[in-house]
């Protein structure tokens, strides 16, 4: 399972980065969303999959899956929600004000 997950994660990363390297702001934002998913799955996969019960002591299992990446990911999910929203509003306001979402046209001038 880990092998296929690793391949899937690689694909998610590749597509996410390809999106980030495009010119359109919307695609870039969607790309960062994909990267977030990729990172979450990567964290889970790195700690091995399905090695025990869910990390709830009420399960009274003999082994539990690693709770540490789960705590990390939980934090990350909420943070990335905040960041993505911020990014979206930034893009939307930039477009409203400057009339373009093309990153090449948004580059700074010589004096900045």
């Amino acid at each position: 399972m880990e092998l296929y997950m690793s391949l899937a994660i690689g694909i998610i990363f590749a597509v996410g980065i390809y999106q980030i390297l495009s010119k359109s702001l919307l695609r870039i934002i969607l790309g960062t969303s994909l990267l977030t998913h990729g990172v979450h799955l990567l964290l889970l996969t790195m700690s091995r999959l399905k090695t025990g019960a869910a990390p709830l002591l009420g399960e009274k299992a003999s082994a539990y899956v690693d709770p540490v990446p789960q705590a990390l990911i939980l934090t990350s999910i909420v943070i990335s929600f905040g960041v993505t929203s911020f990014f979206f509003v930034l893009a939307y306001k930039a477009y409203q004000r400057l009339g373009t979402d093309n990153m090449e046209e948004l580059r700074g001038t010589e004096d900045e």
Partner: protein, 952 residues
Amino acid sequence: MSLLHIAVLAPFIVALVVMLTYKLIGRVHTGWVILPVPVILFAYFLGLIPTIQGGEQVQAVLEWIPSLGINFTVYLDGLSLIFALLISGIGSLVVLYSIFYMDKKKEAVHRFYVYLLLFMGAMLGVVLSDNLMVLYGFWELTSISSFLLIAFWHHRDRSRYGALKSMLITVFGGLAMFAGFIMLYTMTGTFSVREIVANVGSISGEALFIPAMILILLGAFTKSAQFPFHIWLPDAMEAPTPVSAYLHSATMVKAGIYLVARFSPVFAGQAAWFWIIAITGLTTLIYASIRAIKQTDLKALLAFSTISQLGLIMSLLGLGSAAAYYGGGVDTLLYTKATTAAIFHLINHAIFKGALFMVVGIVDHETGTRDLRKLGGLMSLMPITFTVAVIGAFSMAGLPPFNGFLSKEMFFTAVLQASHMNFWNADTWGVLIPVVAWIASVFTFLYSMILVFRTFTGKFQPEKLEKKPHEAPLGMLIPPVILASLAIVFGLFPNLLSYSLIEPAMAAIHPGLLAGGDRFHVKIEMWHGWTAEIYMTIGIIVLGTVLYKLHGSVSVLNRPLSKRITLNRLYDGGLRVLERGGKSLTSTYMTGSIRHYVMYIFVFFIAVLGGGLLLIDNIGIDMSAYAPMSFYEAVAILGLVIPVIALPFVRTRLMAIILTGAAGYMVTLFFVLFRAPDLALTQMVVETVSVMLFLLCFYHLPKLKREKVPMSLKWRNLLISVGVGAVVTLIALAASSGRAFESIADYFIKESYNSAGGKNIVNVILVDFRGFDTLLEITVLGIASLGIYALIKVDLGEGILGERDRYEGVYLPNSNDVILRTVSKVVIFIVVTFSWFLFNSGHHEPGGGFVGGLMTSAALVLLSMAFGMDMTRKIVPFEFRKVMATGLLIALLTGIGSFAFGAPFLSHSFGYFNLPLLGETELATAVIFDLGVYLAVVGVTMTIINSIGRDN
């Protein structure tokens, strides 16, 4: 902390006090306030003379970073003492002089004195530190204070230019010196100068010995303005004249001399040391003396004269180092005479040059010009100033009975001695040494005469002067008169100095030549018969007088050297090339395009991580222990990958958003599969809310266009993307294949219930074990939401719009769907109740503040969609930013609360209580913290949604 430490630190402390209180002492000239500092220091160092003369040293250690061998060790021997006396003595006179020179009404005098004190402390630190690292720190501090003082009149271009130049050159040398110090440390294992001197025998053969020497000499030569690094000193004359007198003639420029003298016990005895210093010194001596006679600005003349005299002292130290070669015996004592002359001339130069600078300052102050072509005939108008000038200039020219005569004679003795040397190839080239010295002395005589007689005799030209000249005020005259008197006293009674100061300093420079308990015997005499030296002096006077007569008419003497190739042009050009080159180099990769920067990051990522994985031999991808995969899981993976792969190919915004959302929901499914119920819940709600957010915004973003990208760029992007993907896959495989160390997970699994009283380990980690992280995380969320709020609300240039003013943003779709409205009435209550259930059960079962808060927000969003935001605002009349703030506050207060019980920040406690109705119930402070998280999340989410989807 010893008295000596306090002596070094006192100027800094007073500088701080002056900076803080100068407004309170407004009516008094700041100079009067700080004058006691150098005076008391001078008295203190005078009081130490008998101790040092008795062959003792004063030292004290203040531990700083003992583990690195860096301590603030102060050490006072004969050499340091001379410098300390110069710094405090000349410092006192300069401060007194400056009180009358710096107009309190026109200048920021407090700033001037703060810089001056900064310098005084730094310079004392240089000469009193035994530890090389501390010495280096003080050394650079003198460069910085010199920079500040040169640029004191920073509205002038020339001042800023001069300040930058001096800074660049001296700091360059300082860095070289620093490298030399590090090399010495690697060889000896200590930063203490005394310990290095003690170990000198064992290091002289090492490969780093000569490089260390050259680097340290670079520091000394740049600081002491030796050829070809001298170019900063003439430009440093833009500083107020008291600064020139103090820093740029008497003390700071002698720091290089100090360094050479201080390291003589380490390096003397090396042919390289002897030749480098002697040749550099002699070159500087003659070159600068020739430049000096061509100057028309009095301060420029003095600047070149200072460079020339520094070269003289430097060359003497070089010649004196030959003594270490012989290491005892009769010849040795002959060579040490050069060292004696160096120390003596060091003192003399500070005295007569200090006086001359003050004279020039007076002339400048009283006439408004320093230009020799405008000056003349001031003798009768300024008789006292003229007298001081004559004494100073005659002393500089080496005429009896002034102190300069004595050291000039000793200089000749030393160079004549050098011409008889029979080692290190000196027998061939040594003959040149006295010739160069003599010619340079002729020029010295010449510029000394120009300085005095062009200014004070000849035709008085009042029409060319800005002011009507008259004698300076008494306070400005006292310091130069004192210095001129000293020039006479030390000329007539030189042995006042030789016993008290020169002998102990000799012992510090040549420790190896003394048997235990012995001391150098220095006796300086005015007359030693008709020797070669006296004939040389007579020759100088004769030839010098002839040249003075010719000076006005012979252009070789008064025209500047070639203007085409000068060191200054080299410096300016070099600086320009550096600036332009730096700019063009930077602009090749700092393109302003974020895509490029992102590309650099990813290429670096591939190179470092991919390269790293390749370099490690045994990544050890071990697939044997991998979990099995069922058919349905394979389908799920396909379900995840297919929308992802499809994403780059879709052309509509809506489709792109839906595909990304699909991928997100599939990730939720994987969280379920991989036994992460908390994550699945949270991801599900977040995905719902974000898709809604995307849909709110996307309508207002431009349509996706077919990007007109050249194929080559596409391939490049593809290559980078696939490269990163491959590296990540490898990392995932390598990381899941076995561990190099034990996981910390076992600890959390074991302690979750015992220590924190919770059965949901993930939730316990979040609110208890890593509660601090969570606190900061919700703070970040709060900042993000406020950022969004501000972005929407702030109209650049117009300030924050009123709560409901002209907002032309996006509108939350307001549904008229009866079914939605009807259903949502019921559903909302169910969702809110469920969210509370999730929140409450979080400690033991899946749930918690995060997911609870998100779920509540989802219910509120649903409410807004069904009934419009006005209705929502009526039903839930909260200001969500305040809800967020309340949540943060609760979380923070829970953390602070643990202080009341003497526990560290964010310690939690739990217990079991028998409550009415509920029976035996567990209550934990972690739940209060989680409540804070819950409120913060609700506040953040709703602030974001409300900001974006504001109703009209």
